[in-house]
Symmetry: C2
Subunit: 198 residues, 2 copies
């Protein structure tokens, strides 16, 4: 039995969410169908206004409600240290860790030849423009520790070090609570190579 | 860092989907934020119009695009046999099996004292009204094989048999490809009790 077109459209839209296939999307669509009109219109409205209601910080491209985000507006943060992340969710994760007191710069992507994303598609130019006015001394590259994240880190190192900025990378190694027995060999090899005095 | 209110609203709405917690909803919301305006408005529009665009069959409460659904409109289906399901997705699953050539009746729920769902909240009255005009001889109860589904089946049996209709229940037993070793004991006990000559 074919689904009605209106339901098919919801399924097709929802199936584009990350990790959602047609089967899950169908389950979601039937669930929405069974809910009250109030909730359905709430969801439709919230999704519809999302793009226009959410702004990005002019300086670091974090989410914001005004021209600058909460981090950039916070005068207690150290402007000399900038942490570069791939996306806003990474920034949120680092904020949650509560270790970093500098500012951020969100690239909104990483280098990816497969997806056709080159340096020009990332917010690197705005980072370079920030160096002098903010007196940035250190850029900590906190992209993911995978091929694309490492390539992006190398690119940033090449672009920024010649401008007199120290470029560092977040440490790789055994995660807290990690059991060596089950750890992949690349991580273990890195952890040995990057060993430090106790 | 707190999320902007517009994003929070999307997260709160999506977190009500089945099996979606706040973490997944946040991932979905960020994904939507990163998509094109076209898709976002498509999703918003599809969800918004869902309730008004999808109709239910006047006779069997299946999804439909007109007053009657595709099954009820199909003159080759046997009107004397009616399969009762809990929801539309169950009906779709049975249609996919391709074994049943009668009509359906969707209860849109099952008896559930815990959720406060009694016989009056189910579409049982409309089923009883169908018996005579359609000449229904057999009602096959295909609710889920759990406590609520079994209770609903018993209720239907009580209500319908005194009206001269044969009430049957879908078989329970070992599923195809099922290995006895890993099967729960209730299913296995039922399969033994309901054994049949080869």
């Amino acid at each position: 039995m074919k689904l009605p077109p209106a339901l098919e459209r919801v399924v097709a839209s929802l199936a584009r969410l990350p990790g959602v296939g047609e089967k899950t999307a169908t389950r979601f669509a039937f669930h929405i169908l069974g809910q009250s009109d109030t909730w359905t219109s709430e969801l439709a409205h919230a999704v519809g206004e999302l793009h226009s209601a959410v702004q990005h910080c002019e300086r670091c491209h974090n989410l914001s409600e005004g021209p600058l985000c909460v981090v950039c507006n916070d005068s207690t943060r150290d402007p000399r240290r900038v942490c570069v992340t791939e996306g806003i969710q990474d920034l949120i994760a680092i904020e949650r860790a509560g270790e970093f007191d500098g500012r951020y710069h969100v690239l909104h992507g990483v280098l990816s030849p497969v997806k056709g994303i080159g340096p020009d598609q990332l917010r690197i130019d705005t980072l370079i423009k920030r160096l002098e006015p903010e007196g940035i001394e250190e850029v900590i590259v906190a992209t993911n520790v995978d091929v694309e994240g490492e390539a992006t880190a190398l690119l940033l190192q090449r672009l920024l070090e010649k401008r007199g900025v120290t470029v560092t990378r977040i440490a790789t190694g055994v995660p807290m609570g990690g059991e060596l027995e089950y750890l992949d060999q690349v991580t273990l090899a890195r952890a040995l190579r990057d060993r430090r005095p106790i």
